[in-house]
Amino acid sequence: MQEPITSLRAGASAQVIALLGPGSSFQRKLRTMGIREGVRIKVVAVHPFAGPLVVEIGGRQITLGRGIARKIMVRAED
């Protein structure tokens, strides 16, 4: 099942399925930071009050705003 990464809890892992969102430049930015279809992604922290998410990809942490995170579709792993 596909869901945006924002619906995962902190500590959960998932696989990136698709990047939604406007234009190729937005998706390029995600990909050049390591967020690409197929990679494993872990949610490290979810900041309250619609704050940013911290995710981990290939041992590197990245902070992303909630709106950006909503465009990352993932399949949760258990």
Binding site: A45, P52, G58, R60, I62, T63, G65
Partner: protein, 570 residues
């Protein structure tokens, strides 16, 4: 002369490689976006004089902010590219590498942070990578200098790959996936102390109290170092200097030259703060009042920068900054601005849109007190009691937030969300920190002292020609009516345009009461940044936006000053 440009992703050590190659000193830190402008240096490599350019980091050749625009611009001037690549993050870095190849310029690859890659269980087959890319590849550890010699020796092998076809973005990613699978072996590694610390400092519930503690202890350290240096070093030095200054004063006798060099004699003695002579106040304010805190501040800042803590702080504070029309990365201009507004204003280049840069720069000039401003606030209000000092800083913090909320609504444009890479924690190097602090101190001395001398000179000239009395008379009615402070305080505002710290000597002799002094100090902090910051704002925002920004500052200063007058004086 051949031009060599260093290109690579942010925060992978390009500037360290640059200093290694040229011997030039540049500021380096452990967070993405330290370099916002290019630096150039010359070197003699392999008996050839070359020019080396250090470009800001970028993830791709389609820039998303002004710092990245500079990087892409630099590429046009390159005769040869050194593509610095983060060995701990090969896959992601290769995208820029493939884009750079399509520029068809001779290129060489430096796999930097080789030691960190080895430690984290990453093995890269250099030979295989060389074959896949058809480029010379060198492994480097720029921090220790390892591999730099080999990089230099191999520069002449830099080349454009023989069969190179332009790839679409998708094809590039497929290529990258394939290459990294072929050349790289990653063995799993258990999370260590650094990883656990990293998690604890970035999660909201553990990270927030830690952040408050870090900020508190930072300022506590700055004060400790500053006050210690003043009490044990600078005050004694200036007391040693006093007899000499008095001799000069006696030798000169009364007259114009005495007024200019020594200034007023107060109660039969030289008053370093109020005398207003080039050889008294002109030296004492920058060296005796501000420099000690500059030393303390930049030592503490270097620790925050080099450990990698700032991006965590940016994450934790993102929520607040987002409401002010920026995002967490705006913590960098704010922190740099507490030292000096000039580097603070330059670092707004890491923000993506005009709206974000305008708000960040305006709030910076308005409500972020640089060390000189802070020294002024302490110098003027310290004798009235610490409570009043706190009142001014609290007012500034409140103005920062309130003005941000308003500007977020009022300024048109986009405010994209935070998208920031968090670097691993690194142990700051003792020597690196000392060197960096020393560079910034030298820069402060070179910038501050000329402006301070100009300020002192201006004060003396304007007093002599009677301009000060004239302007004080004109403004008196307005100042007394609106702010309940005497018109002479306008003189401090004028002088504050050159150096805020100089205003201490102008305000102290006025004999204001505590409430008036708080109002005067707050207005003086808010109304305008110094002339050096103004020049940078014009460069970064353009004339139109700078004037708008200045209007916001002036109006806010008068409104806040009026409100504080009501609250404190009645």
């Amino acid at each position: 002369m051949k031009r060599i440009v260093l290109m690579g992703n942010p925060n992978i050590g390009k500037s360290v490689v640059f200093s290694r190659l040229t011997g030039a000193e540049v500021i380096t830190s452990n967070y993405p976006g330290t370099t916002v402008d290019f630096s150039r240096g010359r070197a003699c490599l392999e008996d050839e004089r070359v020019e080396i350019i250090d470009a800001p980091g970028t993830y791709s050749l389609q820039p998303t902010n002004r710092a990245e625009e500079v990087a892409v611009e630099m590429l046009r001037w390159a005769d040869l590219i050194i593509n610095v690549v983060d060995a701990t993050n090969l896959e992601r870095n290769l995208f820029l590498t493939l884009e750079l190849l399509e520029e068809r310029k001779p290129m060489i690859l430096a796999l930097n942070m080789w030691d960190e890659a080895e430690r984290s269980g990453i093995e890269i087959d250099k030979k295989a990578l060389e074959e896949h890319l058809d480029l010379p590849v060198v492994s480097t550890i720029a921090l220790t200098g390892e591999g730099i010699k080999e990089l230099v020796e191999k520069l002449h092998e830099a080349r454009t790959p023989a069969d190179l076809k332009a790839l679409s973005e998708e094809e590039k990613w497929i290529d990258i996936g394939w290459i990294s699978k072929e050349v790289q072996k990653v063995s799993h590694r258990h999370p260590g102390l650094a990883d656990r610390l990293s998690e604890a400092t970035i999660k909201p519930f553990t990270g927030t109290p830690i952040a408050l503690m870090v900020i508190f202890s930072t300022f506590w350290t700055v004060r400790l170092i500053g006050e210690g240096l003043i009490a044990h070093l600078f005050e004694p030095l200036f007391e040693l200097y006093r007899p000499l200054a008095i001799k000069v004063s006696a030798a000169l006798g009364p007259g114009m030259l005495h007024d200019l060099l020594i200034g007023k004699i107060i109660d039969g003695n030289i008053d370093y703060v109020q005398s207003m002579g080039l050889l008294t106040t002109g030296i004492y304010v920058p060296l005796g009042m501000v420099l000690p805190y500059i030393v303390g501040f930049y030592l503490a800042l270097s620790l925050l920068e080099d450990s990698g803590y700032l991006p965590r702080l940016a994450t934790l504070s993102d929520n607040l900054f987002h409401r002010l029309g920026m995002h967490g990365h705006a913590i960098v201009p704010l922190f740099l601005g507490l030292g000096c507004n000039v580097p603070g204003a330059l670092s707004t280049r890491n923000l993506e849109t005009r709206k974000q840069r305008f708000i960040a720069a305006t709030l910076l000039g308005l409500a972020v007190p640089c060390t000189a401003k802070s020294a002024m606030i302490f110098g003027v209000l310290g004798s009235y009691g610490q409570g009043y000092v706190f009142l001014v800083f609290a007012a500034l913090a409140l103005v920062y937030v309130a003005a941000g909320l308003v500007l977020n609504k009022a300024v048109r444009g986009e405010s994209p969300e935070i998208f920031l890479e968090i670097p691993p924690y690194r142990r700051p190097g003792f020597l690196t920190i000392l060197k960096k602090t020393w560079m910034r101190i030298r820069w402060f001395l070179a910038e501050a002292i000329p402006f301070l001398f100009l300020g002192v000179l201006l004060v003396n000239v304007l007093y002599t020609v009677g301009f000060m009395e004239w302007i004080a008379r004109i403004f008196s009615p307005f100042f007394e009516w609106w702010l309940a402070i005497p018109g002479e305080a306008v003189v401090a505002l004028l002088v504050g345009f050159f150096r805020k710290d100089l205003a201490v000597g102008m305000l102290l002799p006025l004999g204001l009461n505590a409430g008036q002094m708080v109002v005067a100090t707050t207005v003086l902090s808010l109304y305008f940044p110094c002339v050096a910051t103004f020049a940078v704002l014009v460069k970064e925002l353009g004339m139109r936006d700078t004037l708008k920004s200045a209007a916001v500052m002036a109006v806010t200063a008068l409104l806040v000053g009026g409100a504080m007058r009501m609250a404190l004086i009645g």
